[in-house]
C-alpha cells in the first residue's frame, strides 16, 4: 500500500464514501423515525368521531348537562339571569386570563362574557369540562354545592375543580387556583335556534 500517496491528497475515495454514507444514513434515519413517532398521534378512527350535535331545548334554565365529546366531558349550561349578570359585571383587570379561549372568537379577543358564547346567546354556555391545570372535571352542575367562587361572599355559582382547587366563575373563567387559562370553548355553531353542532 502506498499510503504516502494519500497523505498529501486532501480528499480521497474513503473520505468521500464516509461522508456520502453518513449523509444518506442520517437523512434515512430521520425519515424512518417519523412514522414511528407519528403513529402515536390520533388515528383516523379517533378523528372521525370528532363532532356531535346537541339539542339545547330540553335543558332547563339553571340546568347543566354533560356530554362526551372526543373522550372529554362537554359542559352545556343554560345559565340563569343572575349568573349572566354576575359574569358581565366582572372587569377585565380582575381576570387571571383575559383571553377569550373561544375557538369561535377572533384571536386576541378579550374574555368578556359576550366572547365566551356564540351568536350572542348568553344563556347557553358551552365549554370543555377539562380543568386547564391538569385536566380534572370541574364540579359545578351539582346544585347541593354552592360556591362563593368570586365576588366576595355572594354565591354566584361557577365551577370548582376538586383536584387542586381551581375556581372558575359563571362564564368558566379562571379566577383562583393553579389553573392558568379559562375553560376552553370548543368550535361549535347553531344549526337552528336550539341545536348546535360541536366540532
Amino acid at each position: 500500500m502506498s499510503t504516502a500517496d494519500h497523505a498529501h491528497t486532501d480528499v480521497n475515495r474513503r473520505d468521500f464514501l464516509f461522508i456520502a454514507t453518513g449523509a444518506v444514513a442520517a437523512v434515512g434515519g430521520a425519515l424512518v423515525a417519523w412514522p414511528f413517532i407519528n403513529q402515536m398521534n390520533p388515528d383516523a378512527a379517533v378523528l372521525a368521531l370528532a363532532s356531535i350535535d346537541v339539542d339545547l331545548a330540553p335543558i332547563a334554565e339553571g340546568q347543566a348537562v354533560t356530554f362526551k365529546w372526543r373522550g372529554n366531558p362537554l359542559i352545556v349550561r343554560h345559565r340563569t339571569k343572575p349568573e349572566i349578570e354576575a359574569a358581565k359585571a366582572v372587569k377585565m383587570e380582575e381576570l387571571k386570563d383575559n383571553v377569550a379561549r373561544n375557538a369561535n372568537a377572533k384571536s386576541g379577543d378579550l374574555a368578556t362574557d359576550e366572547n365566551r358564547v356564540v351568536g350572542g346567546k348568553a344563556e347557553y354556555l358551552v365549554m370543555l369540562g377539562v380543568c386547564t391545570h391538569l385536566g380534572c372535571v370541574p364540579d359545578g352542575a351539582n346544585p347541593s354545592r354552592e360556591f362563593a367562587v368570586v365576588e366576595g361572599a355572594t354565591k354566584t355559582g361557577g365551577w370548582f375543580c376538586p383536584c387542586h382547587g381551581s375556581q372558575y366563575d359563571t362564564a368558566g373563567r379562571i379566577r383562583k387556583g393553579p389553573a392558568p387559562e379559562n375553560l376552553a370553548v370548543p368550535q361549535y355553531a347553531y344549526l337552528s335556534d336550539t341545536k348546535i353542532r360541536v366540532g
Partner: protein, 416 residues
C-alpha cells in the same frame, strides 16, 4: 476489580467451554470471589433485595398478561376475572400489586443508605447516576402499570400526570395529544401504556446490569467510607454476602407476604375498584404512596409550569448530588452535623408524602410550601456549605482496624 480471570476449569469440557465463552469465570469473579468490605451492615442488603423484586415483578407480570385484556371496555373486568376466576389469580395479582410497593420501599431505603454513607462520591458518581435513572424508569413503569386495571384512579392518575406535559410552553398541547393518541386518555393510551409497561422492566434489567458493572469497578463503599487498603479489609462475596443477602431477602419476603395475605389493599386506593369514568373525577385524587412527596411539591407551587418544573427538579437534583455535597469525608458516621441534617431531611421527605396525601387546603398548603423549600435548601445550601464548615470526626486507619476496635473482648481472646 475486573482483573484477569483467575478461574481454572477442572474438567475437560469446562476447559473447552472456557476457551470459547469465559462466562463461568466471569460469574465466579463477580458473584463468588468478588472482594467485598468485611464490615457491610444490613442496609447494604437492599441492592440484592431490589434485584430479586425485579425478578418477582417480571415473573408475576408475565403470567398476569396471560389473562389480562388491554382494551378500555374489557380491562377492568379482565382484572376482576383474574381475581375471581383464574386459578390463584388473586395471589398473582396481589403479589404484583404489593410487589410494586415493596420495590419502592426497598429502593427508598437503598437511596437513603447511599445518601447517608456518601456512596455517590468519587469515584462512584456514574454508579449513583445510573441508580437515579433506574429510579426514574421504575416510576414510569409503575405509573403505566397502575393505569392497566382501568379503575377511576387509574384513569384520573393517568390524566393528571400526562397533563403535566401540557405545561411545556408552545408545544405542550401537541405533546399531550401525541402521548394520548387522542384528545383525552382513552383506548389508544391504554394500549401504548400496556406495551411500554411490558417493555420497561427489561430496560430496567439492562440498566441494573450497567449499575452492577459500575459498582464492580471501584467495589462497594462501606460504613466507614474509607477505601479498601488490602486483603485484610475484605472477604469474598460468597459465602459471606450471599448468605447475608439471602437472609435479608427471606426476612423481606416475610414482610411482603404479610401485605399480600393480610392487607393486600392496605397500600392501595379503594376508588380504583370503581371502573374508569371519563366524565367524573373522584373527590380526592391522589397517586400511589410512592409518588406522594413529589405530588406535594407539584401542588405547593401555585403556578402550573413552575409547579411541574419544581416536581421534576426535585428528582433530577439527585443527579447533581455528587457535586453538591462538598465534604471530603464519605460516611455520615464521621460527620456529626451532617448526621442531624440527614435525619431532618428524611423526616421532611416523609412529611411531604403525608402532605401529598391530604387535600390542598388550609394549613396543608402552608406546610407543603415550607417543606418544599426545605427540600431544595437541603441540596442547594446545606450540603454545599456543610462540607466546608463542618469538622469531621477522626477516621479509623483501615476497615480492618475499625472492625477489630468494635469487636467484643471475648471474641478477641485466642481459642484454647
Amino acid at each position: 476489580m475486573s482483573g484477569p480471570n483467575k478461574y481454572q476449569p477442572t474438567s475437560a469440557f469446562g476447559k473447552w467451554f472456557h476457551e470459547r465463552l469465559p462466562i463461568v469465570g466471569f460469574a465466579k469473579d463477580h458473584m463468588l470471589d468478588f472482594p467485598t468490605p468485611k464490615n457491610l451492615n444490613y442496609w447494604y442488603t437492599f441492592g440484592g433485595i431490589l434485584a430479586v423484586m425485579l425478578v418477582v415483578q417480571i415473573i408475576t407480570g408475565i403470567v398476569l398478561v396471560m389473562h389480562y385484556t388491554p382494551q378500555t371496555d374489557l380491562a377492568f373486568n379482565s382484572v376482576e376475572h383474574i381475581m375471581r376466576d383464574v386459578n390463584y389469580g388473586w395471589l398473582l395479582r396481589y403479589m404484583h400489586m404489593n410487589g410494586a410497593s415493596m420495590f419502592f420501599i426497598a429502593v427508598y431505603i437503598h437511596m437513603f443508605r447511599g445518601m447517608y454513607y456518601g456512596s455517590y462520591k468519587a469515584p462512584r458518581e456514574v454508579l449513583w447516576m445510573l441508580g437515579v435513572i433506574i429510579y426514574l424508569v421504575m416510576m414510569a413503569t409503575a405509573f403505566m402499570g397502575y393505569v392497566l386495571p382501568w379503575g377511576q384512579m387509574s384513569f384520573w392518575g393517568a390524566k393528571v400526570i400526562t397533563n403535566l406535559f401540557s405545561a411545556i410552553p408552545f408545544v405542550g398541547d401537541s405533546v399531550t395529544t401525541w402521548l394520548w393518541g387522542g384528545y383525552s386518555v382513552d383506548n389508544p393510551t391504554l394500549n401504548r401504556f400496556f406495551s411500554l409497561h411490558y417493555l420497561l422492566p427489561f430496560v430496567l434489567a439492562a440498566l441494573v446490569a450497567l449499575h452492577i458493572w459500575a459498582l464492580h469497578v471501584p467495589g462497594n463503599t462501606n460504613p466507614t467510607g474509607i477505601n479498601i487498603k488490602g486483603p485484610q479489609d475484605t472477604v469474598p462475596f460468597h459465602p459471606y454476602y450471599t448468605m447475608k443477602d439471602a437472609f435479608a431477602i427471606v426476612v423481606f419476603f416475610m414482610f411482603y407476604a404479610l401485605f399480600v395475605f393480610y392487607g393486600p389493599n392496605y397500600m392501595g386506593d379503594a376508588v380504583n375498584y370503581v371502573p374508569a369514568n371519563p366524565l367524573v373525577t373522584p373527590a380526592h385524587i391522589k397517586p400511589e404512596w410512592y409518588y406522594l412527596p413529589f405530588y406535594a411539591i407539584l401542588r405547593s407551587v401555585p403556578d402550573k409550569l413552575l409547579g411541574v418544573i419544581a416536581m421534576f427538579s426535585s428528582i433530577l437534583i439527585l443527579l447533581a448530588l455528587p457535586w453538591l455535597d462538598t465534604s471530603k469525608v464519605r460516611s455520615g458516621n464521621y460527620r456529626p452535623i451532617f448526621k442531624g441534617f440527614f435525619v431532618v431531611f428524611a423526616i421532611v421527605c416523609v412529611a411531604l408524602g403525608f402532605i401529598g396525601s391530604k387535600p390542598p387546603e388550609g394549613s396543608y398548603v402552608i406546610w407543603g410550601r415550607i417543606l418544599t423549600a426545605y427540600y431544595f435548601i437541603h441540596f442547594l445550601v446545606i450540603l454545599p456549605l456543610l462540607g466546608l464548615l463542618e469538622t469531621p470526626n477522626p477516621l479509623p486507619a483501615s476497615i480492618a482496624d475499625d472492625v477489630l476496635a468494635k469487636k467484643k473482648p471475648m471474641m478477641l481472646a485466642p481459642a484454647e
